[in-house]
Every structure is written in C-alpha cells, then in structure tokens.
C-alpha cells in the first residue's frame, strides 16, 4: 500500500520533469487566427468614438472598425472578431502574452513601447495631441495659467509623463491627482476636485460631449502639449501579421484618396478604369497574395467598414457625437498629414 503511494509519487515527479523539458513553441499569429476562425482584438473598456460597447454589447468606434476591416481581409467576415476590453494597465501584457492578436486601443507610438516591450507598431490611425479641459467659469485661457494647480489624470498612460514633462519645461509645478480608472479621474474633475483634466484631445472631446452635464460649461484649451500618434500594435517578430494590419490601414487610406467608398466599391470593381483602383479592389492585379491573402482582401475590408474618411466621419467626425474636425487627420493632399504609401 505504501509502496504504491511511493510509486505514484515517482511517476508524478517524472511527469513534471518531462513537462519542464518541453520547449515552448512559437506560433504564427495568422495561422492561429485562421485556425481559430476569429481575430481577438484588444480594445478600450469604453472610450466613445474609439472603442465602446453599448448596453447590448455591440462595439463601435475607430479602433473597432480597424479590427473589423482586418477580420474582413483575413477571414472574409467582419463579425468574426472577439473584443477583449483592456484597461491601461493590462493592455501591453495582454498583447505580449498572446491573449489578444492586435491591440487597437488608442495607444500612442513611442520609442519605449517600440523598443522595450517586445511590441511592434503598425500604422497611425489618428494623429492626436494631449490637451486640457477646464471649466468656462474658471476663465482660464491658456495652459500656462495652470501654475501650481491640480490636474486630474489617469495613471498608466503617456498622459502622466507628458504632463510632468510639460510642467517641468514650463516651470509650472503642476500637482497631478492620479486615478487608476478613467471614470474616477473624470468624476474628480467634474466634482471640482481638480482645476483641469488632461488626456488626448480626442478623449477630451469625448468626455466633454458625452459625460459632462452641460458641455458648454467646459472648454478645451487650445494648447496641445504633446504629439500622440495613435494606432494599433502587434507583437514583435511576426512580420506577416504586422504587414497585413499595416497595409489594411494604408489600403483604407488610399481608398479614400482614390474615391472608393463602401457604397461604390462594387461599381468601381466592375467598371473602374483606374489601375490603382483595380489593384486596391483586386479586379486587375492581385497584391493580396504577397501578403498571404486572396485578391479581394481590401475589397472586403472596404465593404465592411468604408474607407478611412467614412470611418472617421462615422465615429469621431464633425457629424458624430465627438464633433472632431479632420484637421491633421486629413489626406496629405487636403492639408492633413495622413499619407499612405502606395499599394503596389
């Protein structure tokens, strides 16, 4: 009886030893996605205009549309996406560990994130900057007037660091009140604890229009204290997947440049004489096979979400709830800096 127990113990030891020696295998993301039949997309827990779920669980936003476009390109179905809401603390470890395939969570491209986190940046979907939200009653006109004042900020984002850098450079000695959750930071600002609230300007617009009781009582200061190029990130070392995500975004940009929309995509595919459009929609040349996809990859993406301009209009544009102007995010030939490399 005792000998049996001893033997069981030996077997357990041997098994554990064998497990310890098993090598870790490196998976390719595209293969995993095709095998799984679903793109797992890391998004924000709730940022209107970028990624937010309504009470029925339907996700909308710019980042959500990027995921849908990628899913349409790779899996032919924009609905084959699983959205994983991540807060600012979990987002990078979730991507690093393989829990999500792509992190489309209004994340800023910085050197630290590119070089030291084992992650890779794709394309910029939104050129943003960090700003301040103050009450109209305070009559503050410029960020320089915030000398020695309290500013509410969410922890764990580039926002905190930018605020410090700006405060130091301008000698303002700003006192940050740092909250772990976005809602707590907003709540503290609206209850009057802080004189100002700071985050990316798009986030400020979202907060002002959707969260404030009376949007007219608050004003976004004109100073932008940092550059915040926002875009999806993927794991380093998986070049095929990086290329697919990057070129899907560039494809959507170039589609706007050449006037291809979701509505006229079918028509353009059948009738367009422009070779560029033919390449984009796969009617003349097949550039998809260079990415490991079929020739209608971008056509499906455009049909699913529309081109970049339509995505912008729908989610954050002047007619949406956020009412953000195209500004820097306009095409290069219309005064903005969105410049898609040619898809050829």
């Amino acid at each position: 009886m005792k000998l049996i127990r001893l033997k069981t113990a030996m077997v357990l030891v041997a098994a554990t030893g064998a497990l310890a020696a098993a090598p870790a295998f490196a998976g390719k993301t595209v293969d995993a996605i095709k095998a799984r039949g679903q793109v797992i997309c890391g998004v924000n827990t709730g940022l209107a205009g970028f990624s937010a779920a309504d009470s029925n669980g339907k996700w909308t936003g710019m980042d959500v549309d990027v995921c849908r476009a990628v899913a349409a390109a790779v899996l032919s179905d924009p609905e084959k996406v699983k959205y994983v809401p991540l807060n600012a603390q979990q987002r990078f470890t979730a991507l690093q560990s393989g829990e999500v395939d792509i992190l489309a969570r209004n994340t800023t491209f910085t050197l630290t994130r590119d070089a030291s986190l084992g992650l890779s940046q794709t394309a910029v979907t939104y050129y943003d900057g960090q700003g301040f939200l103050v009450t109209t009653k305070s009559k503050i006109k410029s960020a320089k007037q915030l000398k020695g004042q309290t500013v509410c900020v969410q922890s764990g984002t580039t926002t905190e660091k930018n605020l410090t850098d700006y405060s130091k450079a301008a000698g303002l000695n700003i006192k940050p009140v740092v909250f772990e959750k976005l809602e707590a930071a907003e709540g503290a600002y609206f209850s009057g604890r802080c004189v100002a609230y700071t985050t990316d300007a798009s986030g400020l617009a979202s907060t002002r229009n959707k969260v404030a009781k009376n949007p007219a009582d608050h004003v976004i200061l004109p100073d932008l204290i940092s550059k915040e190029p926002l875009g999806p990130m993927v794991r380093r070392g998986d070049d095929d997947w990086t290329a697919i995500v990057k070129w899907t975004i560039y494809g959507l940009l170039e589609s706007e440049e050449y006037g291809v929309t979701a509505a006229n995509a079918d028509d353009q595919k059948a009738n367009s004489k422009d070779p560029v459009v033919g390449r984009l929609l796969g009617s003349t040349e097949d550039i998809g096979k260079l990415l490991g996809l079929d020739k209608e990859w971008l056509y499906r993406a455009i049909k699913a979400t529309g081109n970049y301009g339509e995505i912008f209009e729908r989610n954050v544009g002047p007619k949406s709830a956020l009412q953000l102007p195209r500004g820097l995010n306009n095409q290069w030939n219309k005064g903005g800096i969105q410049y898609a490399p040619p898809l050829r």
Partner: protein, 391 residues
C-alpha cells in the same frame, strides 16, 4: 544489583515511519522545486521571445512622473527607487495614523457595547453591524464622493483662522524648517524619553509608599516642556509657510488632501468596527467574577474597566488586534482606486512606463511583507510583555 541495560536498538526498516516521512519530504520539496523551475523557465522563455527586458536596473533611471503628494521633496527627475520610497512613506502615513485612530475609536465602541445606557449600546451595535457588512472599497469610494461633493469649491473655501477647507483639502501653515525647530524636535524627543523614565519612577514610588503620583499630566508636561525649551534655545523661530488664496485654489502651506482624508477615515471607520468586536470579545472573556469583585471593593465602573477588565482582556485582544492592524495596512493598497499615491499606485505607473511587471509586483509584495512582519514582531513583543505571568 543489576545495572539497567539499554534497550536493544530497533533494526532499520524500509517501512518505518521515519523513512516514510523522509521520502514524503523529499518528494514534496523536489516537486515544488520542479514546479518553480518550470514556471521560471517559462517566464524566461516568454520574456526572451517577446524581447521584454528584465532586471532591477530601471530603478536607477529617472522616474519621469510627478507625484501628487509626498512628505519629502520629490522631483520627476529623481530615480524610480525614490518614487517607490515616496509611495512607501505615503502608505506608512495612512497606516500609522490609521492604526492609532482605529484603536482609540474601536476601543471606545467596544467598551460602549457594555454601557448601561441602552441607546449607547444600540448605537454601537448599529455602527458595528453597518460598517462591518459593507466592502471597504465601496466605503472608500463613498467617502471620497462625499468629500469631493460636500467640501466647498477651491475658489471659495471655508476659512478658520489660518486654516482653509476646500475641495483641495485642509490647508494649514507649516513651519519653515530652521535650527530652532530642529532643537525643538530634539527637545521633544528627549522629553518623551524623560517622561517614560518619570512614569517608571512614579509607578515604583507608588508601589513602595502608596502615595499616588501623577502619571499622565506630569510626563506630558515634561515632554512638552523640554520641547519648548529646545525651541526657545534655538531662537524661538516663528516663520510659517502660510496657505494663501490663489486664483483658482489655495497655494502654499501644507495640505491634507481629500484623497488622504478619505483613505484615512474610510479605513479607520471600517477597521474600528472589527476592533470593537475584538475588544468586546476580549472583555467578555474575562470572568464575570472579576467585575463583581471589583465593585465589591468599591471601584467605580470606569475604574473597573480601566484597572481590572482591560488589562486582563489584553491577553485575548492582542492576537486578533494584530490581525486587524495588518488588515488596515493591506487595505491601504485600495487607495489606488481614489487617487492617493501609495506604493501600489506608484508601482502601477512604473509598470506602465517600464513594462517591468514582475519586478514592480515583487517590490510591492516585499514592501507589504516587511511591514506585516514588522507589525507582527512589535505586537508579539507587546503580547509577551502584557502576558499574565503564570506558573
């Protein structure tokens, strides 16, 4: 006379308990070591595969972020270890003051459960039941909400002499540190030591002669007197950093922020309900005959409680009380939800800026483990000191 013979040694058996015990221990240790090695190997492989750097060298690099409140000067160019130190000091600020306040409040309410007045008994019971059954996170959130809603606007604060009360907290004048204040602090320290010695002398003299000597007012007087003496000798400086009404908020001066006050009050009130139960259990554990004998000797109820019941109850109270102190220290980590920059909040920011999750979490756990260990050791020492000397 036969010499006592040593009993024959038992022959070694593979089935003896000693051998089996040895095997079990070896197997357990080997299993645990293997599991740890497996996990460590996985972590290493994963981190290498993803290009994540590891190591504690980031602690020497500049932090790059400001901290809302700190006890000593801190700048964003200071290294990460200094930021962690600021967080640690903030945690201690809440923990130490909280432990003192919660002991006082908890003892009052625990003793109040035995009051002769039914209203007092009922109120204490309601207090305990109400605050014990609501999660601490919820209580902290409610306190913070109340503070930020109820306090007056920063632009129009409540003034009480040199003090300002507003949404920015309670602003008070702090002394601008100079030689005189340092001497005063040393004097106070010397005064406290002298007061302790005086109390010992007073107790011994009472035991010897039966003539009571003041053991509360005189020592306090000695401590304060020596402190004042030191301050006077240093030139009696009176420069204060006074808070002034700025354009949007109060500037200068020291401040007790709403975050600090809500964490402190929330933790104190929550833990005091548990301390009250512990105190009540302790007092109930003292035999009823003790209080009966005390009243037979003519002691008033207050004297009975102070001289007879509480000292004996201490034996039963101290271990669970230690637990409550540890709980308070650990619950202070929830301050991250309402914006108080304690060590967990700083570590959170550090994780996000450097990506070194493993290292930062290890630091957090080390901080709390050492604080818990220190508190346990101190309470154990006190426990042994107050133990009733038995045969």
């Amino acid at each position: 006379m036969t010499t006592p013979s040593t009993p024959p040694k038992k022959p070694w058996s593979w089935r003896s308990q000693a051998f089996r015990g040895l095997i079990y221990q070896v197997v357990t240790v080997v299993l645990i070591v293997l599991v740890v090695l497996y996990l460590a190997n996985n972590t290493n492989t994963n981190m290498k595969a993803r290009g994540i750097q590891s190591g504690f060298d980031f602690m020497m690099g500049g932090a790059g972020f400001d901290i809302g409140e700190s006890l000593f000067p801190y700048d964003s160019a200071d290294p990460y270890w200094k930021a962690f130190l600021v967080g640690f000091v903030n945690t201690l600020r809440v923990a130490v003051v909280g432990i003192v306040l919660t002991t006082i409040l908890g003892t009052i309410i625990g003793v109040g459960r035995f009051s002769r007045n039914a209203l007092v008994r009922g109120l204490c019971l309601c207090y305990v039941e109400f605050f014990r059954n609501i999660p601490i996170l919820l209580q902290l959130l409610m306190w913070y909400l109340m503070f930020t809603e109820v306090l007056p606007e920063s632009a129009a604060p409540l003034t009480l002499g040199p003090l300002f009360l507003s949404k920015g907290g309670l602003n008070f004048p702090i002394p601008i540190w100079s030689g005189g204040y340092t001497l005063g602090a040393w004097g106070l320290l010397a005064g406290i030591v002298a007061a302790v010695f005086y109390r010992r002398y007073a107790h011994a003299s009472f035991e010897r002669t039966g003539v009571p000597k003041s053991t509360i007012l005189t020592p306090i007087g000695i401590a304060i007197g020596l402190g004042l003496l030191g301050w006077l000798l240093g030139g009696a400086p009176t420069d204060m950093n006074r808070p002034v009404q700025g354009e949007f908020a109060i500037e200068n001066g020291g401040a007790l922020t709403p975050e600090y006050m809500s964490v402190l009050l929330g933790l104190t009130v929550y833990t005091a309900s548990f301390v009250a139960e512990v105190v009540r259990g302790g007092i109930q554990s003292v035999a009823l005959g003790q209080s009966e004998a005390a009243s037979a000797l003519g002691l008033a109820r207050g004297q009975t409680m102070r001289l007879v019941m509480l000292p004996q109850a201490l034996r039963v109270i101290i271990p669970p009380l230690t637990n409550q102190y540890l709980n308070l220290t650990k619950n202070s980590s929830l301050a991250v939800a309402i914006g108080y920059p304690d060590v967990v909040s700083i570590a959170n920011t550090a994780i996000n800026q450097t990506g070194r999750a493993v290292e930062c979490i290890a630091v957090i756990m080390l901080v709390y483990l050492s604080t818990s260990l220190f508190t346990s050791v101190m309470m154990n020492w006190y426990n042994n000191r107050s133990a009733i000397q038995e045969r």
